[in-house]
């Protein structure tokens, strides 16, 4: 904890005496308050008010990169637990419905004797209870207000910083030249009121800086600011940021009418949120050759052709067979009724599996719908999701490894997928989200995969993937398992190997699920080779590339021993050279 004690926080008047958080009315921003934690050298060591609700004139825009502390959106407490409070109250009210109706309509015949409410009424304690409830509500609202007050962030030339917490305060600072990406998430409920959360991805476990929640417009601006500062560009880019924010409303047709009233603006925000769900969240990139989109039909078809479906079919067949055998053969021994009950019981076993499968499929399809990959000057921008939309930005040089693969069921359709090793900044407990972040292209034709590869790896490497990796003609160039090791890979020995190119090491493996891993030399951490006694007897060895943890296969076994030693040495040399030449931690070309 680097911040000294902040005297004004404990001295805050307790909850209730201050106004609850309110959306600042236009023209009347919250009065600026001194923030004791801000360094004296900071040009504007003042708490800037939260400003610029969506679609406000540009004159009210705040500069978020001024190094001063800024607060989150005032509706943040609502999204971070306040919603739960409202739901609790709603549930309570729903349970009181009978009583309320009973009060209004005396003949309704409400007989709720014996519940705590009657006990309170009969002992004349209702005033006390009401006061208690009021007190709890005020304290809760106060706490939410306080936590909003102290939750703030700042962006300097070198780092992005966020601090939060009333009792347990925390402050997190992430250097900009180490950031691994920026994710902008629009969760379903939050986007209805025009909010988004911004996640600055760091390298490590649980290393992300989360800015939640911001108005979508500010989140987009802050993302552009962070990426601009992280890229090393000194001058502000004029083109991408401003039109991007403005144009996002244009295709939806929502006229930015200057509705003055709060209700009007709220309605506009909600309608904007809905039209965004229909029309797509992010502004399209202008050069169409740099965009790859996945059609919803193909997403659905590819997901239905996944191993999960195979397992479901297998399970259904087994259960049906078991149920019919039990019913027909059991009828002789225990009677028709009991055996039928057995059969029905067995069929009931299908229900949870089918339900689980359906939920999984729905989730996959909702997540992957409207998938698009576009190249921006800050790297790849991947957008996906129907209800909750996520936009990842993967700056150049943040790719540690990549795998192009084709499950068996996709082969007749010629579909492929791309998964990558990247820093997600998630902890092990958040592994559910890692899967999304490490999928670059969930499904695509050969041509689309080729285009995505061109966006993310050097041209000559991208061009080598299909001809040498998967075409029969290119097989001769792959250093693959010698025939003496064929018994170790009976199906794939002819393709199980590696290809050393100028920019990356390619590992090819698998005949049933065909796959090719690609490791840019500049991001290989180390390279290793192994050999056991059996392999030595056959002059074989294993090659392994050490990359960060991720879905990409890093190992090829049963290769010729001389090949392995040669590629071990060559990779070690190439890694050092590429790392020395690598400048992607500051990827901007200018200054």
């Amino acid at each position: 904890m680097s911040t000294p004690e902040q005297p004004n926080i404990p001295a805050q008047p307790p909850a209730g005496s201050d106004a609850p958080p309110q959306y600042p009315a236009p023209g009347a921003p919250l009065p600026p308050q001194p923030w004791p934690g801000a360094p004296a050298s900071s040009p504007a060591p003042q708490q800037a008010p939260y400003g610029a609700p969506p679609q406000q004139p540009a004159s009210r825009e705040i500069n978020f990169t001024d190094g001063a502390w800024h607060r989150m959106h005032p509706l943040t407490p609502l999204m971070r637990g306040g919603l739960a409070l409202i739901i609790v109250i709603g549930v309570l009210l729903a349970n009181f419905r009978e009583r309320v109706i009973g009060l209004l309509i005396p003949d309704y015949g409400y007989t709720g004797y014996g519940d705590p409410v009657d006990w309170i009424m009969s002992h004349d304690l209702w005033l006390l209870v009401l006061l208690g409830a009021l007190g709890v509500t005020i304290v809760l609202v106060g706490l939410f207000y306080l936590s909003w007050r102290v939750h703030s962030f700042r962006i300097t030339e070198a780092a992005v910083e966020v601090k939060q917490g009333v009792l347990f305060r925390s402050q997190r600072r992430s250097p900009l030249d180490r950031i691994q990406g920026v994710n902008l998430t629009r969760p379903f409920f939050a986007r209805l009121i025009g909010l988004s959360k911004l996640e600055v991805v760091g390298a490590g476990s649980d290393a992300n800086v989360n800015l939640e929640y911001l108005s979508t417009r500010n989140a987009e601006r802050i993302r552009a600011d962070i990426l601009r500062l992280a890229s090393g560009a000194r001058t502000a880019r004029t083109a991408p940021a401003a039109p991007a924010a403005g144009a996002s409303a244009a295709p939806t047709g929502a006229a930015p009418a200057a509705t003055a009233s709060f209700a009007g603006r709220t309605a506009q925000t909600i309608s904007h949120g809905i039209s965004e769900i229909i029309g797509g969240a992010e502004t399209p990139v202008l050069e169409p050759q740099n965009i790859v989109t996945v059609s919803p039909g193909r997403v659905i078809a590819s997901q239905l052709l996944s191993p999960a479906t195979l397992f479901l079919v297998l399970w259904v067949v087994i259960v049906l067979a078991g149920a019919s055998i039990a019913t027909f053969f059991g009828a002789r021994d225990v009677g028709v009724e009991i055996s039928l009950a057995f059969g029905v019981g067995a069929l009931a076993m299908l229900v949870p599996v089918v339900l689980g499968y359906g939920i999984y499929m729905l989730k996959q399809i909702l997540t992957l719908a409207r998938y698009s990959i576009a190249l921006t000057e800050d790297g790849l921008r991947v957008t996906f999701g129907l209800t909750t939309t996520v936009t990842e930005t993967l700056p150049p040089g943040r790719l540690f490894g990549l795998e192009v693969s084709q499950p068996l069921l996709w082969r007749p359709f010629g579909w492929w997928r791309i998964r990558i090793n990247r820093m997600t900044g998630k902890s092990a407990a958040q592994s559910g989200q890692v899967d999304q972040l490490t999928t670059l292209l969930p499904v695509g034709s050969r041509d689309e995969v080729q285009r995505v590869l061109r966006l993310i790896v050097p041209e000559e490497v991208a061009a080598a993937v299909f001809p040498y990796g998967f075409d029969k003609a290119g097989r001769a160039h792959i250093a693959h398992t010698p025939s003496r090791g064929a018994w170790l890979h009976p199906f794939s020995w002819r393709v199980n190997g590696f290809l050393f190119t100028s920019g990356a090491l390619l590992l090819r493996h698998g005949a049933i699920t065909r796959a090719l891993s690609l490791f840019p030399f500049a991001r290989i951490q180390s390279v290793s080779m192994r050999q056991g006694p059996l392999a030595r007897a056959q002059r074989l060895a294993t090659l392994r590339v050490d990359s960060i943890s991720g879905p990409v296969t890093t190992r090829v076994t049963a290769l010729d021993r001389d090949d392995v030693i040669r590629v071990f040495e060559a990779t070690a040399r190439a890694t050092e050279g590429a790392a020395r030449a690598d400048r992607t931690h500051r990827w901007a070309g200018d200054s």
Binding site: R178, Q180, A203, G397, F400, M423, A522, R523, Q525, S526, V527, S528, M529, R530, Q531, G532, P533, R536, A537, Q538, R539, A541, R544, D546, S547, I548, S549, T554, R561, V564, I565, F568, E569, T571, A572, R573, T575, E576, A579, R580, D582, T584, H585
Partner: protein, 188 residues
């Protein structure tokens, strides 16, 4: 200290003081090797230390096994204890050979670490990839004047951990690696 160009025929006064003189490996021509150069090795005291640890483990297993046998009075109960004891015995037999197979080499751009005779493993880590260096020595290590040095990269699978270094050599190696890495610092 700067890294002398390969090969380094003459021993380094600090890194090679009190370590094994020659590397142990199989004679099979199909074994894994890399070009000429000097392998720095670990201390023979590591063998003594590990022998002690394994003998103590063996003794504990024998005593516990004996008492359990007295209680249960069924000789079959000795089978799991026998298996564990066999494991310790095997380690005891292999240890002196295995310890001679640990080696590291400081090349111009990377450090190469090797271990194992029957199951060989080589790993090459460019200096610039180093994230941090750990030196650990437990109470027994301290009694023998030993330390374990671990070099961590962004990949968990790098697994470069050199046990049984003389303490002075471990500190010297750490300083060298940090110094060289400093001049070659790159992105992740």
């Amino acid at each position: 200290m700067t890294i002398p160009p390969e090969p380094q025929p003459q021993p380094n006064p600090i890194l090679d003081e009190g370590t094994f003189p020659t590397l142990r490996e199989t004679s099979s021509p199909a074994r894994l090797t890399i070009g000429d150069g000097r392998w720095h090795q670990i201390s023979p005291r590591y063998v003594v230390e590990q022998l002690l640890v394994n003998l103590v483990g063996l003794a504990v297993i024998a005593v516990v096994g004996y008492f359990v046998w007295q209680q249960v009075e069924n000789p079959l109960i000795l089978i799991p204890f026998g298996l564990i004891a066999l494991g310790f015995l095997l380690t005891l037999v292999i240890l002196p050979r295995q310890a001679r197979a640990y080696g590291y080499r400081l090349r111009e751009d990377d450090i190469v670490f090797r271990r194992g005779i029957l199951w060989q493993r080589f790993v090459a880590v460019p200096y610039g990839r180093m994230q941090l260096i750990d030196i650990t020595h437990g109470p027994l290590d301290r009694a023998f004047g030993l330390a374990q040095l671990k070099m961590v990269t962004a990949a968990a699978s790098t697994g470069l951990a050199i046990p049984g270094l003389p303490q002075r050599a471990a500190e010297e190696l750490r300083d060298v690696l940090v110094e060289v890495a400093e001049t070659r610092r790159t992105g992740l």
